[in-house]
């Protein structure tokens, strides 16, 4: 029955820019806005770059220079696994005395997964363990760099002209430096708008080196247009008749991972440096607070800030489902877990007839009308033998069992359709104590944190009808 515990059986509705239904384990909770957030309604920012195999951190500027590739690690061009350096002993004459022969170490790259070696493409063994391997140079690099410079200059010139036109309409004593620092215009050939939103006021780092000083003339970079050739190299005569040797031909994936060369033959697949991964931090779009901020160290998987929904919102899970029959009432056992340390009161409300969120349910559900009380999560409870069991008067028709911060309760389900999966939806209302809000000094001696009531729309997928 482990399939009942699968995360996608219970979905919570997130009301953001779009309505998203997602399991609670994949949601975040902004405790300043007191709302659920999903990955699509937060902004993702790059925190740091690191290499996944040597776990070396790389500052963003250096990462950009190296095109987001690690300097030490290589990827197998055949199966994209990480390459490891292996050593062999080869006899070689001593440099001083040509008659004596000693064993020297020669290093080559090998893949442990598909057994590709650097000798397969003809790369000679190197005498140093690391740093000896070079990627082949792209023959078009110079031309591409020249073109990029030319177009960046063109874009900047156009932007200046546009700003100048705007300034000409304004009053004449506007400072000239205004044009350098405004990013109201989307920069052509530059970064996207998302990143620019957060950087108002900072100069564009892309063109930083090329920033114009007032009055200075920029050197014109001339480019020649590409020449179209009339004659194309003819295909070899046996192109259509020669049988294809499959081990020699590269797969599309192998080919496209090297967009510079896109080799068609397996003997030209050279290893590339390993791509860096990023650690990202998430930020709520409405209140600009961080929802998730990982640690800087690549070897650490912890978070500095981790506002995940499972730590704040009670978790509904399906425990057991009886045989569901069309138009017959059955009892489904659900569990509710309290993630916080204080007592939580949960009320379940069935969705009304005209509820706009209730699009997926195929069955009628009768939820318990009474308020369910959940004990707080007490980490030391299992070690404390003298603790008195908390006395909650539970109605045995509603509450099946109670165990520390978890209760099991029944809901009644009447499937309305003859075939297809049974899906039910209801609303869950619980109290939330916001510990992030500043504690107001209260004269009457109120509870330190005020409780607010949050309502969530929960959908359960109960599976197919019994045959």
């Amino acid at each position: 029955m482990a399939s009942l515990l699968q995360p996608d059986r219970v979905l919570y509705l997130v009301r953001g820019e779009k309505k998203i239904r997602s399991p609670l384990s994949q949601l975040y909770f902004c405790r300043y806005c007191s709302e659920l957030r999903s990955l699509e309604c937060v902004s993702h920012e790059v925190d740091s770059h690191y290499c996944p195999s040597c776990l070396e951190n790389m500052p963003s500027a250096e990462a950009k220079l190296k095109k987001n590739r690690c300097a030490n690690c290589f990827d197998c061009p055949c199966c994209m696994h990480t390459l490891s350096t292996r050593a062999t002993n080869i006899p070689a004459p001593l440099p001083d005395d040509p008659t004596k022969i000693t064993m020297k170490k020669a290093y080559y790259l090998a893949c442990g997964f598909c057994r590709w070696t650097s000798r397969d493409v003809g790369m000679a063994d190197k005498s140093v363990a690391s740093g000896g391997w070079q990627e082949p140079e792209n023959p078009h690099t110079q031309r591409i760099n020249k073109l990029i410079e030319y177009y960046q200059q063109l874009a900047q010139r156009e932007k200046l002209e546009r700003d100048r036109k705007k300034l000409a309409r304004r009053r004449p004593f506007m400072p000239q430096a205004f044009s350098q620092h405004t990013i109201h215009v989307v920069e052509k050939y530059g970064m996207g708008t998302r990143l620019q939103r957060h950087r108002s006021g900072a100069p564009i780092s892309n063109l930083y080196g090329l920033s114009l000083k007032e009055g200075e003339d920029q050197k014109e970079i001339p480019i020649e247009p590409a020449q179209a050739l009339d004659e194309v190299e003819p295909l070899p005569e046996d192109y259509y008749t020669r049988p294809v040797s499959l081990p020699e031909v590269t797969t599309l994936r192998q080919r496209l991972l090297q967009p510079d060369f896109q080799p068609a033959g397996a003997s030209q697949l050279h290893p590339k440096h390993k791509h860096l991964l990023i650690k990202r931090s998430l930020r709520c779009r409405k209140c600009e607070h961080n929802l998730s901020k990982p640690e800087f160290n690549p070897t650490s998987i912890k978070f500095k800030i981790q506002l995940v929904a499972v730590n704040y919102i009670p978790d509904v899970r399906i425990m057991s489902i009886p045989n569901l029959r069309h138009m017959k009432e059955s009892q489904v056992l659900l569990t509710l877990t309290n993630p916080v340390e204080h007592v939580t009161h949960v009320t379940l409300i069935a969705c009304e007839e005209g509820d706009a969120d209730d699009v997926n349910s195929t069955a009628k559900v009768m939820v318990p009308t009474k308020e369910l009380v959940l004990a707080g999560k007490d980490a030391a409870a299992e070690y404390d033998e003298l603790a008195e069991p908390q006395d909650f008067q539970d109605d045995p028709d509603v509450v099946a069992f109670r165990k520390s911060n978890k209760i099991g309760f029944f809901i009644k389900v009447v499937p309305q359709r003859e075939d297809g999966d049974v899906t039910v939806a209801f609303r869950m209302r619980h109290d939330f104590r916001n510990l992030a809000a500043p504690i107001r000094p209260s004269e009457e001696g109120d509870a330190p944190a005020e409780a607010i009531w949050l309502t969530h729309h929960v959908e359960l997928s109960l599976g197919p009808l019994a045959p």
């Binding site: 055949c78 199966c79 997964f113 598909c114 057994r115 590709w116 070696t117 000798r119 397969d120 499959l246 081990p247 397996a266």
Partner: protein
């Protein structure tokens, strides 16, 4: 018309120089060559015919080499000829692999949890990757590497290295910790 209901007595020989641990399970007519190491808990089962294993092989724990009856033939039917499974030299059967291939050449490596079917013939230098199931009806060309969850194939330029270092080490260390099966110098009478 030998009475096939009779249990087959264990025949076949273990050559001198082979290291076969007592905890390994060897059933049926199995011949093991010199310098072969059979780890404890390896299983070699010659139920439908004899198995001949060459020299310098490495058979690791929980590996299963089985000469089994083809699936749709009952063991009791009369017209089943016992086919001999032959395994060459310098092969490696890694932990947990299952090999039913009738003919295995030299220098092959069957990695952990790989499954080789009965109708596959491994030539030499082949590497069947971990968890790959090969149950086609074909001869695998030399120096083929089968890897990945989709059993992709490629040809490598040189055969895998024979595990001489590992074999030497095991032949020294295993007798310190395990009892070994007795080796026979001359061929036994069958």
């Amino acid at each position: 018309m030998a009475d096939k209901q009779q249990t087959v007595l264990k025949s076949g020989k273990i050559a001198a120089g082979a290291v076969v641990c007592v905890e390994s399970e060897i059933r049926g007519d199995v011949t093991i060559g010199a310098r072969t190491v059979v780890h404890p808990k390896a299983r070699i089962n010659a139920e439908a015919g004899p198995i001949i294993i060459g020299e310098g092989n490495l058979i690791e724990e929980q590996a299963l080499i089985i000469n089994s009856y083809p699936e749709n033939i009952m063991p009791e039917s009369e017209d089943v000829e016992p086919k001999t499974m032959s395994i060459g030299i310098n092969n490696v059967f890694e932990v947990g692999c299952v090999s039913q291939a009738l003919k295995i050449g030299d220098n092959n490596v069957i990695e952990s949890k790989a499954d080789v079917g009965r109708n596959v013939i491994l030539t030499s230098g082949c590497i069947i990757g971990a968890c790959c199931q090969v149950n086609t009806c074909e001869v695998i060309p030399e120096n083929t590497v089968i890897y990945g969850s989709n059993c992709m194939r490629r040809i490598q330029t040189e055969k895998p290295q024979p595990q001489t270092l590992q074999l030497d080490f095991l032949m020294k260390i295993l007798p310190n910790y395990h009892h070994l099966k007795k080796t026979v110098k001359s061929s036994g009478k069958n």
